[in-house]
């Protein structure tokens, strides 16, 4: 089973990377897209049953994968 942790910058936290990408997109003519935000996807595998996997992955995300001062995260099971 694959676990996916999506880490996003919280609302209100400046995302200079997102801004830079937005600028480039606009320059290329993609004017209909705005508010770009860049996050991270962290994937890993486990043999744990789904419920335990989610619980443990959340613990790991809280401790290491995300800095909850500036980031929020979401844990998903793939497959």
């Amino acid at each position: 089973m694959k676990v996916q942790v999506i880490v996003r910058l919280k609302h209100g936290v400046l995302d200079p990377q997102g801004k830079a990408v937005e600028k480039s997109a606009k320059k290329m003519g993609f004017n209909e897209f705005s508010n770009f935000r860049i996050g991270k996807i962290i994937e890993f595998e486990t043999q744990l049953p789904e419920k335990d996997a989610i619980e443990k992955a959340k613990k790991l995300a809280n401790k290491l994968l995300a800095n909850t001062v500036i980031e929020s995260f979401e844990v998903k099971i793939k497959e």
């Binding site: 209100g12 936290v13 400046l14 200079p16 990377q17 830079a20 290491l64 994968l65 800095n67 001062v69 500036i70």
Partner: protein, 232 residues
């Protein structure tokens, strides 16, 4: 009085450890020694320095992995007992990741790695780290890509109420404005201290501005403050 003991933590990827060592040992003429990140024994320091660099490569986030090292666990205990802890640059990032200081350091607002001298206004001169800093703006170098200090409104309010904002980026005349903000930090914050006043984090590098030959000696006021704190 005997020489003060400064313990400098060395992580894989630290690169300002020798700068700090040289500044303390040869310029300040106090004692300095290295503590490898796997060590649990801090060897009774008067002050801990967490130097700049790229601890553990900063692969996940700056300072994210360093906070779990054995030495850091001991530093939490040391700080808890009131011991003086300084985090410079990557050291500041590690202190926020470890929860010893509030907030976080984001990418600079223009995404550039900035390496230049900046001016700092010292907002709180009643600290072990600042009591000998003159009233004028001091000039200290910065060298970072992630020095954009961020915290939520509630935390900012607390920082202000408790006088925890120590340094702000300013111009040569000590005026704090967006023009003097190199990286987008909230309210030009360059350095903060914990509530108790014994743990300080700052992005600028005082240890790199200690000698005439380097063209700038303003950093020495910072270290002399610590000496004065202990020796009067």
């Amino acid at each position: 009085m005997a020489r003060l003991k400064f313990g400098i933590i060395v992580f894989p990827g630290s690169n300002c450890d020798y700068d700090a060592y040289h500044a303390i040992k040869n310029v300040l003429q106090e004692d300095a020694y290295f503590i490898w990140h796997n060590e649990k024994n801090l060897n009774n320091p008067d002050c801990i320095v967490i130097p700049g660099g790229f601890s553990y490569g900063d692969y996940l986030r700056c300072g994210a992995t360093a906070k779990f090292s054995p030495a850091m666990e001991e530093i939490l205990n040391f700080a808890e007992k009131g011991g003086l802890v300084i985090g410079i640059c990557n050291g500041f990032q590690i202190l926020t990741e470890a929860g010893l200081l509030p907030g976080a350091l984001l990418r600079n607002r223009d995404l550039h790695f900035i390496c230049k001298e900046v001016y700092l206004k010292t907002e709180n001169k009643n600290l072990a780290f600042t009591n000998r800093i003159p009233d004028r703006a001091i000039k200290i170098p910065i060298a970072h890509a992630e020095g954009n200090y961020f915290c939520d409104h509630e935390t900012l309010k607390e920082l202000k109420e408790n006088n925890q904002i120590v340094f702000r980026y300013c111009n040569e005349n000590g005026e704090v404005s967006d023009n003097s903000n190199p990286n987008g930090s909230i309210e030009n914050i360059a350095g903060i201290v914990n509530k108790r006043g014994n743990v300080l984090g700052m992005m600028p590098h005082p240890e790199r501005a200690m000698e005439e030959v380097l063209g700038n000696t303003d950093g020495i006021y910072f270290f002399k403050s610590i000496v004065a704190h202990f020796k009067g």
